[in-house]
Structures are given as C-alpha cells and as structure tokens.
Symmetry: C2
Amino acid sequence: MSTTPRTARGTRTRARLLEAAEQVFASVGYHDASIVKITEQAGIGLGTFYLYFEGKQAIFDEVVEDLNRRVRQAMTEAAKAAGNRIEAERAGFRAFFRFTAEHPALYRIIRQAEFVSPGALRMHYTRIVNGYVEGLKAARDAGEIRPMDVDTVAWALMGIGEMLGMRWVLWHAGGPGGGAAPEIPEAEFEEMMRFIERGMAPEAPEHGGGA
Amino acid sequence: MSTTPRTARGTRTRARLLEAAEQVFASVGYHDASIVKITEQAGIGLGTFYLYFEGKQAIFDEVVEDLNRRVRQAMTEAAKAAGNRIEAERAGFRAFFRFTAEHPALYRIIRQAEFVSPGALRMHYTRIVNGYVEGLKAARDAGEIRPMDVDTVAWALMGIGEMLGMRWVLWHAGGPGGGAAPEIPEAEFEEMMRFIERGMAPEAPEHGGGA
DNA sequence: CCGTAACCTGAATCGCCTTTCAGGTTAGTG
DNA sequence: CACTAACCTGAAAGGCGATTCAGGTTACGG
C-alpha cells in the first residue's frame, strides 16, 4: 500500500521517482516503461517504488497532472505581461510552444493517455481550453474579436497548437531519441498567428488595419 | 514466416484478421490487444495469425495504412463534387468528420502509433496534409485565398480537424465503449468553418462581402 | 550509545503473452 | 476415390514484467 512520505528524505525519493517516470514515459512510452526502468533511472531500489505509488498507472496520472500544471503556469505567466488580448494570445501560444519544445514529454505522454488514463487526457485538454475560453470571452466582450462560439474556437486553437507543436518538436528535431530543445521556426509561427488572428478578427477592422 | 494467401479462402481469412485487429486495437488499445483477442474476434485459430502476419506490430501498421487510405478516399471523393475551392475544403472537412465519427478507430489507433510505429504516424498525417497542400496551393494561385505558407496552414487545419473530431467522437458520445456514430453538431461545424475561412480569406474581400 | 520509526532493498512469485510446431482439415484435380 | 497443396489449429515452450515481502539501513531524540 502506498503512503505519503513523512520525512524530507522520503519526499525527495518520491520526487525523484516522479521525475524519472516522466523521462522514461517520454522516451520509451508507457508500455515499455517498466517499474525497473523507472527505479533504475531514479537510482532507487525496485521495491521502494511501491512505498509511494500504487502502480504504473498511478504514477502516470501524477506525471500528467504535473506536466499540465506546469504548462498552464508557463502560459498564464507569459500572458500576464501582455497588453491587450491579442498580445496575450500570442504570448500564451509562444509560451506553450516553448514549454513543449523544452519538454517533449508533454506530447509523447499525453498522446498515450487515451488508453492508459482517459480521464487524465480529458482533464489535460479541458483545463488548457478553459484558460483560452476565459480570455476569449473577455476579448469578445471588449470587442477585440468578433462574436463567436468561444468554446469551439478554443478547441480549434488547442488543436492548432498541438499539431504544429508536435510537428516541430517530434519531427524537426531528429529522431525520438532527439537532443536539445528545437527552435520554433519564426516564420511559421507568424503565419500561424496571422491565420488565428484573422480567424478571430472583428467584422469591420479599422479600415485597412492589417495584422 | 508470414505469407501471402494463395487462394480465395486464405484471402478472406487474412481480411477477417485485419478487420478484427482494427476493432480490437480501437477498443482496448495496442498494449492490451493480444493476438489471442484478435483471433478470437475474427473467429479464427490462434496459430493462423502467424500464417499471414509477422506479429502484432506488422498487423498494426497495416491497419493504420488501411484506415489512412480510406479516410483520404472519403475526403477526395467528397471534395470532387464541390464547385470552388472553399466549397471543396468544406466538403472535405465534413467527409473527414463523418468518417471519423463512423470509425472512431482512426483516432484511437493513430494516437497510439507514436510509440508503436512512429513511421506510420508520420505517414498518416503527412499524406492527409499533402492532400490539403495541393488544394490550398491551387486556391492561392487562383486568388481564392490570400498568399500564405500553405504548409503551415495545412498542418493547422489538420490540427483543428483532429482536435474537434476527437472531442466530438470521444467525448460527446458517452464513454469509450460507446455505441453508434455520434452526430456532429452543425452549429459548431459552422463556427469552425467560419474561423477557417476567415483565416484564409484574401486581403481585400469584395467590399463588405461577409462569409 | 540505545531505541525506534521511517525508509530502503532486490530476489522470488505469479500471471500473462508472443510465438512455434506437429498434426489435422479442406478443396480441387486426375 | 486417391492425392496433394494450401490452409487451419491450439497446446505448450519460453520470456518478461508487475508486485510482494522478509529483512537490512538511516536518522535522530533522549
């Protein structure tokens, strides 16, 4: 039966397992991620794993939860500094891509969640979309974007981010074993933002005011 | 060693295995899809599997290839009937959603391919995007859409389709075990198309001409 | 230095899955 | 009907990985 650590040592051990699990899940996938591999990566005895986690699925869920919290924090943080809503959207997207470029684990892990833990998958997407929805509603009410069904558009934005991010992270940067965080092609990022901004622009823009 | 069937009987058996594999992969995932389950679903002896397939991964790749061919055919077929490019885009999207609504296997299987068979994953997305790219280039040259980096936009469209489709197919229609093909909400589909069409619209539309 | 609560360990158990193979069945031909 | 190429079968071998557990280690207050 798994327990919560009671001392600083235990807390550190648990954290090490979590970090190791993120790496192992991301590099070989859930299926091939054995508890042995995770504990070895963490430099910890096999049996110790079961002191802190119920099993493989349990630690997977926690890894997803953790990544989700971190990516949303990165996005909110970045958006906070922006002036208007459009700027905030742009900053949020950029933060999203930067985060996923630095943590390929996000994609690689989330995509497997469908069977491993459908609830975690839904939670992940829903939470991120909810962040968008709030921002979009405010922008819509402020007249910065056209009247729209913000839910649908928020999911569309999520889809764009996920697909382009996947393409950049997984394929632009060599193979799965790949090395450091890849650069996000600036020109493509701008093209994406143009597409998004036009898709959301108010009916009658400021007469000739382009991007 | 796996062989190609030499008679009508063998051909039928092989096809049954392929169909059963699609169902099993879609319903329990690659990991939990044992050869036993596949052969049982097909109503065929366990050993027979190895007459026609090298192993689990081999049949998985074929399932992906098959689904990919079918969804692209559905899209092309639908787009063919359309008048202009915008109409074709709309028809293609609708066909894509209809297909995935009727074959949830597409999502459920593709999402696992990342680790099971990265090549198959990339092949799947790339082929669909290539279809878009051709259409977009033609539309751009014909002045029906603004000048743009069609590759980036094509991937963005792919992302929108995948995310909204996933949402509709996986979540609007009860649980994973879910029943018949769910309806695609018409209002949401239209909102999505508005977003896409505006994102691609030429710089100076026909003076006040809306959608 | 002693005691003990918390922590750590990895060999062994248990169960499941892939793959093989020796032998049976089917269907078409002369 | 005899023959044979193609096809089908499922018990069993061989492996692998999740999880347990009996016993060792660490840290620290008294």
